[in-house]
């Protein structure tokens, strides 16, 4: 563990020094394993937030209220501590230059983490490819990587970053307010005949709704890649 970077009140990035790291592709995750003194272990998966080109591997962790591993990573872990992890893992929810675009990224909450890796990868490899990010969050204060994401639209002609805030929004906020809608997705994803490659990541209900609308709008199911987390609540 090289450094902890607070992102929001509940979200922290872990900047790792990983000697011998084999490299990863944007969108992949790692398994983190914690071991107590008596040998008890707990492991969970976390998305990689950094691009393959970045100097450090970065994991961004949301502290879950009833979590077993995330509170430890966010509250107890300190720079210099050792962390056991395995990876990179996953080969489908991955975007790389050869897959082209237009690239459409739809994120809900901390589902933005693997999408941020893709965006950083896009910046270094593919700035000619149109990219659009729609990021739904509860409030402006809970937007992870806010300054960086806002900066993409300003700095790159082909990048279009939009926010949807579901619970509260600052005065003068020009993005979408309320939950995402089919119309909003239609606008962000563009015409299906443009054949965008679409990545959706977030809580189950968010991903279910977004993926379903995208199919209804005419996007090929095979061009929609999803990653979900969290229980269904039932």
């Amino acid at each position: 563990m090289a450094e902890l970077v607070p992102e929001t009140a509940r979200v922290t990035s872990l900047v790792l020094d990983l000697p011998g790291w084999p490299g990863h592709r944007a969108g992949q995750h790692v398994d983190v394993r914690l071991t107590a003194e008596d040998g008890y272990q707990a492991q969970r998966s976390y998305s990689i937030a950094s691009a393959p080109e970045d100097e450090h591997v970065v994991l961004t962790v949301e502290r879950l209220q009833d979590g077993e591993v995330s509170p430890y990573l966010v509250d107890v872990l300190r720079a210099g501590d050792e962390l056991e992890l395995r990876g990179p893992i996953g080969g489908y929810f991955v975007w790389e230059e050869s897959l082209g675009g237009p690239l459409v990224l739809i994120g809900g909450g901390s589902g933005v983490v693997p999408l941020r890796s893709m965006l950083r990868h896009w910046v270094t490899t593919s700035r000619a490819v149109p990219v659009r990010l729609l990021y739904s969050s509860r409030s402006w204060n809970e937007v992870i990587y806010r300054d960086e994401l806002v900066g993409y639209s300003a700095a790159h002609a082909r990048a279009d970053v939009r926010f949807a805030l579901t619970r509260e929004w600052p005065q003068g906020f020009t993005g979408h307010t309320g939950r995402i809608t089919r119309e909003l997705l239609a606008d962000v994803a563009g015409a299906p005949d443009g054949r965008p490659i679409i990545y959706v990541c977030g809580p189950t209900g968010f991903v279910e709704a977004a993926a379903e609308w995208l199919v209804e709008l005419g996007h090929a199911p095979g061009r929609i890649r999803t990653e979900r987390f969290g229980p269904t609540g039932s």
Partner: protein
């Protein structure tokens, strides 16, 4: 040897019977959803279940006939490679033994395939002998689409990605042909008790 995580004690749940949790798993009360793409919605009048591949004659059942096959209700523990396990889940469906009754085949493997394009491979011996079902009810209710309905494969003794959602058929094969996750770095067999999560485990 894993390094000790300074200050980590864990949050063990006394209710969890450790003998029922494979290594590295934790017990989940909810029912998380994981899948690689959108949830397919195939109308039941277009649904059928097909056994094909290296068989003398393919067999298929439309939905109504499938529901008429002898069904079993089983209560099993399920284990997802993303670390959650769910104990005592109750399913109703048709045993793979029943589906393969009367099917003449030299096959040693099969590929389960699904609406939406998902595939997964299993050895025939891992899905016969009362070890696997094609389930269409969960907890006494029709299986919800996000959990794989109208029907999913249920192979509880392997990691849950082998229990293909939205399953539409079993293609019997002579050779073991890696399916979707198996070609993306996950283990070919996926025994949770041997912690066969990824290639090389």
């Amino acid at each position: 040897m894993s390094p000790i995580s300074r200050g980590f004690t864990g949050r063990r749940r006394p209710a969890d019977d450790p003998s029922r949790l494979p290594p590295g798993q934790y017990s989940e009360r909810g029912f998380p959803v994981l899948s690689a793409g959108p949830t397919p919605h195939t109308p039941l009048d277009e649904w059928s279940f097909l056994i094909d591949g290296v068989v003398e004659a393919p067999v298929s059942w439309p939905w109504e006939e499938f529901l008429g096959l002898p069904a079993e209700t089983v209560t099993v523990d399920i284990h997802c490679v993303t670390k959650w396990s769910k104990l005592d889940t109750t399913w109703k469906g048709v045993s793979v033994d029943t589906l393969l009754e009367g099917v003449e085949t030299p096959a040693a493997y099969l590929t389960a395939w699904s609406d939406g394009g998902y595939t997964t491979n299993v050895a025939l011996e891992d899905v016969t002998g009362g070890k696997a079902w094609v389930a269409y009810e969960y907890d006494g209710e029709p299986l919800e689409p996000e959990h794989g309905g109208p029907a999913r494969l249920l192979v509880p003794h392997l990691y849950f990605w082998k229990s293909a959602k939205w399953v539409r058929g079993l293609t019997l094969t002579l050779d073991d042909e890696p399916g979707f996750w198996e070609t993306y770095g996950y283990h070919n067999r996926g025994d949770p008790w041997l912690e066969q999560r990824y290639q090389g485990d």
